[in-house]
Symmetry: C2
Subunit: 340 residues, 2 copies
DNA sequence: TTGAAAGCGGTACCAC
DNA sequence: GTGGTACCGCTTTCAA
C-alpha cells in the first residue's frame, strides 16, 4: 500500500526550520528569503513532498479541486469528452483534481467540494447551474450563459462561432456554391453556439440575397430524424451545399444525400461547423470547423484558475483557439491565420 | 457567497449531546441508541448538515472521492462518456465525488486523492495504470485487466461479450444469413472486449463450418480506413451479413455498403456489438447490442464501493446488465430475458 | 525574516 | 450508551 506521506514537519526538521516557514516557502506570498525558499523547495523535492489537500482545505479556503458540468442532452458528442479531458489535463497542471458533476447526481444534500466550476454550454433553466450558483461556486462558462445567469458567471470562454460560420459560408461561396442549406439543433439545446451559427447563417443569406433553407433536428437525432431534416433542407432544387451545425451530422449526411442521388464533394458542397475528428475532420469531402475541444477544455481551466487567482483583467472573456480544415486540404488552418 | 457550513458541534449543541455521539450517530457503527440516532439525524436534516470531507479525510482514511480512468485511445466513443456519467451518479449516491484522471496529466508529483478508482478497458502497458497501482489505490476494472495487472486489481466488472456476440451471430443465422463477416478493432486497442468478440466470432464460424472473414481497423478509423476494412470483409461473394465490433462502425457501414450496391436490412444483415444510441440502437436495420454504458458505469461504482467497504464475497467479479435490440424490433431485450 | 501556538471539523481512543 | 480529549497536516494570527 501507499507509503505514509511526507509532511511539512518532516521538511522542517530536515532543513532545521519551523513548519510555518516551510509552509510559507512552499505556498506563501514571498515572506521568506529566496535562499531558504530554495532550500525548502529542494528538500521538498528530495523527500517527495506532496501537499495534503484535506489539511489545506480544512484550515484555509482552497479545495484543490475544480468541477466540470456538462448538460445531459449534449453527452452524445465526443466534443464534450475531449473537452473534459483537456480540462482534466489543465487541472492537473494547476495541481487540482477535476470532478465530474452529473445532473442526475442530485441525491440528497451534498456540497460541491470544489474551488470553481466550468459549465459547458450552459442551457437556460438548468437546475444544476442554479444549484452551483446558489452554492456560491465561482463559475466560468464555455459558451455564453443564459440571461438569468449572466451576473453570476465570473468569466466566459467561447469559440468565434459566428466568424467561423461566416468563413465556411464564404468559402463555399467562393468555391462556386451559390445556395447552402443549413441543418441545426432544435430548441432543446438552446446554447449560445446553436444561436450563433443559426443567426449567422440567416444573416449571411440576407447579405448574399440567398433564400435560407434551414431546418432543425434534435441533437440526438436518429437516422430517420436527421434524414428528414436533411431532405427538407436540400429540397429546393437550387440548393447546392449543406452546412451542418452539430458534430457528426455532416458525416452522417453523406449517405443520406447519396440516397437522394446527390454526390458530395464535387457538385455539392458539405460542411460541418463542429467536426467529429474521424468522420468529419478526416474526410476530404467536408469543409470542417475544428473546435479543438481538448485545447478548449484546457484553456477554460486556465481561465478559471485566473479567475480564482483574483485576476480582474477585462480580457476575462476569451476566445478559444480553433481551426478550419477546408475540403480537400490535408492541413488545418488555425483561426489566427484565418483572421489575417 | 456560500453560507458557513453547519458542523457536528452545532448539531451537538442543538440536541444537547457531545460531538462524539453526534459523529457516531451520523457515521459510526451503531454504538448509539436508536432513539438518539434518530434525534441526531433529524437535527442534521433540519440544520442542513453536510459532512466536511476534508476534515474526515484528515483524521480518518476516507477521501470521499473516487476516480475514473479511461484510456486516451478510446475517447472517441460516447460509450465512455455515458459510462463516466453513470459512474458520477453512482459516486454521488455514495456521497463521493468522481474525479476524472487524464493520462496526459502526468505533471509533477501528485497524489491520487481518491479512495479507489475505476479503470475502464485497461490496456496492457498503460503507464497510468501502473502509477495507480504503485500508489496503492484500490482498483476495479471494467473489462478484464491485462495479465500484469491481474493481481493488483480488486474486482472486475464486465459485460458478457462472448455470449452477446454468439447471440447476435445465432440470430443472424436463424434469420437466414449464412456467412457473416466481421470488422473489429486493431491491436492498438487490446482490451478484453476486443479479444472476446473477435475470438467468439472465429469460434462461432468454426462451430458452424463457416469460413471467417474478419478484418481489423483502428478504433479511430477515418471514413477511408473503415471503408477499406468493410470492403475487405464483405469481398467474398457469399458473405451476406456484417458484424461490427466498435461503436458506430455498423452505422457508418451502411453508406459504405450502399456504395457497393449492398442494401442493408433485407438481403444483407448488419449488427453492432457495441451500439451508438442514436445511429445504431435507433436504426431498425441494425441488430444492436446495447452495452447500457450509463448503468454499466453506475454498477462499476457500486462494485468499487463494495470493495472499499470490505466485501470479500467471491462474487466480486460481476456482469453488467446489458441488452440487445433485434433488427426491426422497437424494444430492447434485456440480457437476463435472453438467457432464459 | 522567522517561530510558536491556535484551530479548521471531524474521528479514534479511552474513560465513565 | 455516552463524553472528554488528542490529533490528522496545514494555514493563520501574533510575537519575536
Amino acid at each position: 500500500m501507499s507509503a505514509r506521506r511526507v509532511t511539512i514537519v518532516e521538511i522542517a526538521q530536515h532543513v532545521g526550520l519551523s513548519k510555518t516557514t516551510v509552509s510559507d516557502a512552499l505556498h506563501g506570498g514571498g515572506r521568506v528569503s529566496p535562499a531558504t525558499a530554495a532550500k525548502v523547495a529542494a528538500a521538498a523535492r528530495e523527500l517527495g513532498y506532496v501537499t495534503n489537500r484535506a489539511a489545506r482545505q480544512l484550515r484555509g479556503r482552497s479545495v484543490g479541486a475544480l468541477g466540470i458540468y456538462i448538460p445531459p442532452i449534449a453527452r452524445n458528442f465526443n466534443f464534450y469528452m475531449e473537452f473534459a479531458f483537456g480540462a482534466a489535463h489543465g487541472s492537473a497542471e494547476h495541481d487540482a483534481d477535476l470532478v465530474l458533476f452529473a445532473r442526475d447526481a442530485d441525491v440528497g444534500p451534498r456540497h460541491f467540494q470544489v474551488d470553481g466550476v466550468i459549465a459547458v454550454d450552459p442551457l437556460p433553466g438548468d437546475p444544476m447551474l442554479e444549484r452551483l450558483v446558489d452554492a456560491g461556486i465561482p463559475m466560468v462558462t464555455a459558451g455564453r450563459p443564459p440571461e438569468a445567469l449572466a451576473d453570476a458567471v465570473s468569466a466566459v470562454i467561447e469559440a468565434p462561432h459566428g466568424d467561423l460560420t461566416r468563413l465556411v459560408l464564404d468559402h463555399l461561396w467562393e468555391s462556386g456554391y451559390a445556395r447552402p442549406a443549413f441543418v441545426g439543433s432544435d430548441r432543446r439545446f438552446y446554447s449560445s453556439w446553436a444561436d450563433d451559427v443559426r443567426r449567422t447563417y440567416v444573416e449571411w443569406c440576407g447579405a448574399h440575397s440567398v433564400a435560407p433553407s434551414a431546418f432543425d433536428c434534435p441533437l440526438d437525432a436518429t437516422a430517420d430524424e436527421l434524414s428528414t431534416a436533411v431532405r427538407s433542407a436540400v429540397r429546393p432544387s437550387d440548393v447546392d451545399a449543406l452546412v451542418c451545425a452539430p458534430q457528426g451530422f455532416a458525416g452522417r449526411s453523406i449517405g443520406i444525400l447519396e440516397s437522394l442521388g446527390v454526390h458530395t464533394g464535387t457538385a455539392f458542397g458539405l460542411a460541418s461547423l463542429s467536426s467529429d475528428p474521424t468522420t468529419e475532420l478526416g474526410n476530404p469531402r467536408i469543409t470542417a470547423v475544428d473546435l479543438a475541444p481538448w485545447t478548449f477544455g484546457r484553456e477554460s481551466i486556465v481561465l478559471l484558475a485566473a479567475v480564482l487567482g483574483g485576476d480582474q483583467h477585462d480580457h476575462l472573456n476569451r476566445f478559444a483557439d480553433v481551426g478550419v480544415r477546408i475540403a480537400g486540404e490535408t492541413t488545418t488552418r488555425s483561426w489566427e491565420s484565418l483572421q489575417a
